[in-house]
C-alpha cells in the first residue's frame, strides 16, 4: 500500500466524521429539531470519502442527496453543513436548500441534487467548461444505481463520450432504488457494462473498501484526463432507510446485518491496525476528534440565527 500514512489518517477521520455527523443528525431528527428530511449514507462512507480524497481542490464534484460523505470528502465544513441541515442562515445555502441541496463552490462542489440523475448532465457541462478552458482539472459526477435508469444518465454519458470530456462518472450502487432492489430495476447485475454502450471504460469494485476506492480514483483520474470519460461503479450498502419516512419493509434485518459485518469503518480500522499504520489508541483519538468536531458543528448550528423572512427573495435571480 503506497498511500502515505497521513492520507490514510485523513480518510479515517473523514469517514468517522461522516458517520458521527449522520448519527447525530438522525438523533436531532428524533428530538424534533429538524424540519424536512434527510438521506443518510451510513454504510456508504468509503465511497464519497475515498473518491473525493483522491481529488485536487480544483477538481469539481456534482453530488447526490445521499452525499454527506462526498461533501466531507471534498472538504466542506461540518459546522456550515449542520447549520444548513437545521435551516440556519449560516448554513451553506442560508437555509434555502437543506441537506438535499448542500453545495460549496469554494471547495469545488457543484451541489447536491434532489432530482435522481438531474446532476449528471450538469456535471457534463462543468467538464465541458474545463475542457473549453483547457484546465487540468476533472469533474466527478456521483449518482446512485437508480439514476442509471434515467434518460439523463444515458444522454450525459453519450455526450461526454462524443466530446471526450474530462469526467469521471461514479455510480454509488447500494442495490436499492429507494425500495426497489437492483434485480428488479435492471436486467443486468454489473452496472459498469452500461459504459460499453457509450464507448467508454467501465469498472466495478468493492465500495466498502476505502483503499480500493481511493486508489481506483487516482488511477481513473489520470485515465480521464488522458482519454476522456469513465464509469466507476462502487458496490456498497445503506444501513438506514431511504429517507426519514422509510418503513424498510422491502428488505430483511438479516440482509442489513450481513452487510454490517463488512462495515467500511470496521474494515478500514482492521486494515490500518493489521498493517501497523496506526495503533488502536491513535484510531480512537481520531474517532474522538470526529465526535468533537460534530459536537462543535451542532453547537454552531444551534446557536446560529434563522434566515430573515424579509430576505427570502434574495437569490431567486442574480442582480
Amino acid at each position: 500500500m503506497g498511500i502515505p500514512a497521513a492520507k490514510l489518517k485523513e480518510l479515517f477521520l473523514k469517514m468517522s466524521q461522516t458517520r458521527h455527523f449522520e448519527e447525530t443528525a438522525a438523533r436531532l431528527f428524533t428530538e424534533g429539531k429538524v424540519h424536512g428530511t434527510a438521506h443518510f449514507c451510513i454504510g456508504e462512507e468509503a465511497t464519497g470519502v475515498g473518491v473525493c480524497s483522491a481529488l485536487a481542490p480544483e477538481d469539481l464534484i456534482a453530488q447526490t442527496h445521499r452525499g454527506h460523505n462526498q461533501a466531507i470528502g471534498k472538504g466542506m465544513r461540518l459546522d456550515r453543513m449542520m447549520a444548513e441541515f437545521l435551516g440556519k442562515e449560516t448554513g451553506y445555502c442560508h437555509g434555502r436548500g437543506g441537506c438535499m441541496h448542500i453545495a460549496d463552490s469554494s471547495v469545488g462542489s457543484l451541489g447536491a441534487n434532489g432530482i435522481v440523475g438531474g446532476g449528471i448532465p450538469i456535471a457534463v457541462g462543468a467538464a465541458f467548461a474545463q475542457q473549453y478552458r483547457k484546465l487540468d482539472a476533472i469533474t466527478v459526477c456521483f449518482f446512485g444505481d437508480g439514476a442509471t435508469n434515467e434518460g439523463a444518465f444515458h444522454e450525459a454519458l453519450n455526450l461526454a463520450s462524443v466530446w471526450k470530456l474530462p469526467i469521471l462518472f461514479v455510480c454509488v450502487n447500494n442495490y436499492y432504488a429507494m425500495s426497489t432492489p437492483l434485480n428488479r430495476h435492471m436486467n443486468i447485475s454489473d452496472i459498469a457494462v452500461r459504459a460499453q454502450s457509450y464507448g467508454i471504460r467501465g469498472k466495478s469494485l468493492d465500495g466498502n473498501d476505502v483503499i480500493s476506492v481511493y486508489e481506483a480514483t487516482l488511477e481513473a483520474k489520470e485515465y480521464v484526463r488522458r482519454e476522456g470519460p469513465m464509469l466507476l461503479v462502487l458496490n456498497t450498502y445503506r444501513y438506514m432507510g431511504h429517507s426519514k419516512s422509510d418503513p424498510q419493509n422491502y428488505r430483511t434485518k438479516e440482509e442489513v446485518e450481513s452487510w454490517k459485518k463488512r462495515d467500511p469503518l470496521v474494515l478500514f480500522r482492521d486494515r490500518l491496525l493489521r498493517d501497523g499504520i496506526c495503533s488502536a489508541e491513535e484510531l480512537d483519538a481520531l474517532d474522538g476528534q470526529a465526535l468533537r468536531d460534530v459536537a462543535a458543528a451542532v453547537e454552531y448550528a444551534e446557536s446560529s440565527p434563522e434566515p430573515r423572512t424579509d430576505e427570502v427573495l434574495r437569490d431567486v435571480l442574480a442582480e
Binding site: Y92, R96, A103, G111, G118, V124, A152, D315, V316, L317
Partner: protein, 333 residues
Amino acid sequence: MRELTYAEAIREALSEEMRRDDSVVFLGEDIGVYGGAFGVSRGMLEEFGPVRVRDTPISETAIVGCGVGAAMSGLRPVVEIMFSDFVAVAMDQIVNQAAKARFQFGGQFSVPMVIRTPSGSGTGAAEQHSQSLEAWFVHTPGIKVVTPSTPADAKGMLTTAIRDPNPVLFLEQKLLYRVKGEVPEGEYTIPFGKASVRREGRDVAVITYGRMVQRCLEAADAVAREGIEAEVVDLRSLAPLDRDAIVASAKKCGRVLIVHEACTTGGVGGEIAAIIADSEAFFWLDAPIRRLGGLDSPIPYNRTLEDTVVPRTAGIADALRGLARKGASWPRA
C-alpha cells in the same frame, strides 16, 4: 437605416457577443454545417469553428444540462432547442435545475445561460412543432422569458440575454424569421421588463407580445378607419413583466384587449388581466377586460384549421369594435 431579417438580427447579436467574449459558446442540434433548422446560425461555424459552435447529439436534456453546468462553471452558453416544443424533453434541466440553482444553493452560483428556441404556429408543422409554451416558464421563478417581435428587438434583447447572469428563455417567433426591419449596426442592449408602445391610441389598450404584435397593429389600422384609436403595447418580455406599462395603458384607454397566440386558458393573458384588475386601473375601466388567445386546442395540421385556432387580424379587429362600442360599457342602472 439598413434592414435585416429577424433571423439575421439574431445571428448578428450572437456573433457580436461571441467576438466580444470568448466565454460565449453555442450548443445545439444541427447548428453547425446545417446552419440550424431555421438557418439562424448559417455561416457561424465557418467564423467561430466547431469548438464554439458545437453540434450536439439529439439529447435535449443533455444539451440544456450541459448549458447549466457550463454556466455554473463560468461560461456563457447559448443553447438552441430546435423547436420550443422540445423544451418539454428538457423540462427537468430548465425548471428544476437552471431555475433553481442560484436559490437553492444560497446564491453561490449563477446560471448565465440562454435557451434560444423557435415558438409558435403557422408553418403546418402540427401539434408537436407549433406550440406557444411561455406560460409554463412565466410560472417558474428563477428564469426570464422574452418574446421579441421585431428584428431590432431580437438583436438588442439577445445581447441583453447573453449578458444577463440568469437563465433566459429566448422565444423566437418562427413566423417572423424572414420578416425584415431596421436594425442598428453595432452592439446595443434592450432592457428586459420594459414594454414598447408600438401605436398610441386612446380608445382601447391592446396588450400583446410576439408575433401577435404585427396582427394587432394591422387590426388597429383597420379599425382606425372607423374612428377607433387602439393603443398597441408590445410587452417584449414576459418575465419580468412591465406592470407599469400595462396599468398605464389600461388607465389611459379604459378598455383592454389582451391578445396572444398561446391557448387562452392558463395563459399569460390571465395574469395581465389580473394585474389590471388588481391595480388602480380597475377604477378607470369602462368595460370588462377582454382576452383573445388561441383556442384551447392542440395546433392542427390542416392550414385552415391551423388558422382557426389562433387569433387572426380580422378577429382582433372585431374584438376591438366590440370593446369600443358604447354598449360594451358597464350596464348602468
